[in-house]
Symmetry: C2
Subunit: 173 residues, 2 copies
DNA sequence: ATAGGGTCCGTACCCTAGTACGGAGTCAAG
DNA sequence: CTTGACTCCGTACTAGGGTACGGACCCTAT
């Protein structure tokens, strides 16, 4: 595969042209210019791959900022490897948590589907029930293999008795 | 556990008070009023659970709109069961896709961690490589026809050759 | 009863992640 | 050369998801 113009790269990655330029401005992808040529951007297959990656990562709940972190996690001989490593470990934890949550939702959906065969009377059942961390997911016999990290406590407002004002905490979703 | 005021419910669910009111306005949770009492909102444990669910679902890439759909997917005797069923099946597909994508990222991170023992020379390795659909475990291909549910498809000009969209203007050299 | 924190509501504001637009330059085909 | 498709850049605008106020009302302990 050869290099593409921005419109073709966009079509290939299933995004808009403007989105690519936006990612570029945000520093998620490098400026793909060939200095001596027309000034038009040229996209290598790798770059297109990177754009696809960004999309995928977004779909599973990473923000562009986090994606940037993911992308910069590369075993660069010049980089401080121990830092890369610990960041990678942290991200991996996050990924595992997300997977576990998705699995819970999946269980809930499955049991909902099972109980709802196409018509007629059925018992009450909301997905909420399957998600509660307190009383585990015992539904179908699908082995739950992990102790369920149960969502790390981010930083949270905890002014004991509202000593001052509880309004100015920043969240980073 | 008994009912809580909004501030306590917020702390319990790890969100802001304003966020709860916001969800209420959006119709994600019902108005928890006791008509004859003070007018203050009161939150049952179930409601708090619901709020927690919303947060979790967001973290794994569902929009509030999708979460609303998920929440309304309940085996309600009054509901059209076949519709609930097919929606649940669709959501389940989506969940499985997300899990697969997360697994890919997880693999990538693991191999990055493995190759990066804490210091020193290491080979080049980006997460991108592990994510490529072409050489991994075959995730159900969803190219082309999947509207990529988690990201607002919005208006993407797909007009192959910009048939009618010519907003560019002739320049006189 | 009164003080101080809690709550109410509406509106305004903010950040993220794009999208749209305008005016102009570039490229390839005819 | 002329066209029409494509690109560039900068700026403005949007939608989604909250956050922040402000002014007023409510509750509980002292």
């Amino acid at each position: 595969m050869k290099d593409l113009t921005i419109a073709k790269a966009a079509r290939e990655a299933d995004v808009g042209v403007e989105t690519i330029r936006f990612y570029e401005r945000r520093g998620l992808i490098e400026q793909p210019r060939k200095p001596q040529s027309s000034g038009f951007r040229v996209y290598s297959p790798e770059l297109v791959k990177r754009i696809k990656f960004i999309r995928q990562a977004q779909q599973i709940g990473f923000s562009l900022h986090e994606i940037q972190e993911l992308l910069s996690l590369r075993a660069d001989p010049a980089a401080d490897c121990s830092m890369v490593r610990s960041q990678a470990i942290a991200k991996l934890e996050e990924v595992k948590r997300k997977i576990e949550q998705l699995r819970q939702i999946g269980f809930a959906l499955e049991s909902l589907i099972a109980v709802c065969p196409g018509r007629g009377g059925l018992q009450a059942c909301t997905i909420l029930d399957t998600l509660e961390p307190d009383h585990g997911p015992p539904p179908p016999r699908i082995r739950a293999d992990g102790p369920l990290p149960a969502i790390p406590p981010k930083r949270r407002r905890q002014n004991g008795k509202f000593g001052t004002d509880n309004r100015q905490q920043r969240r980073a979703t």
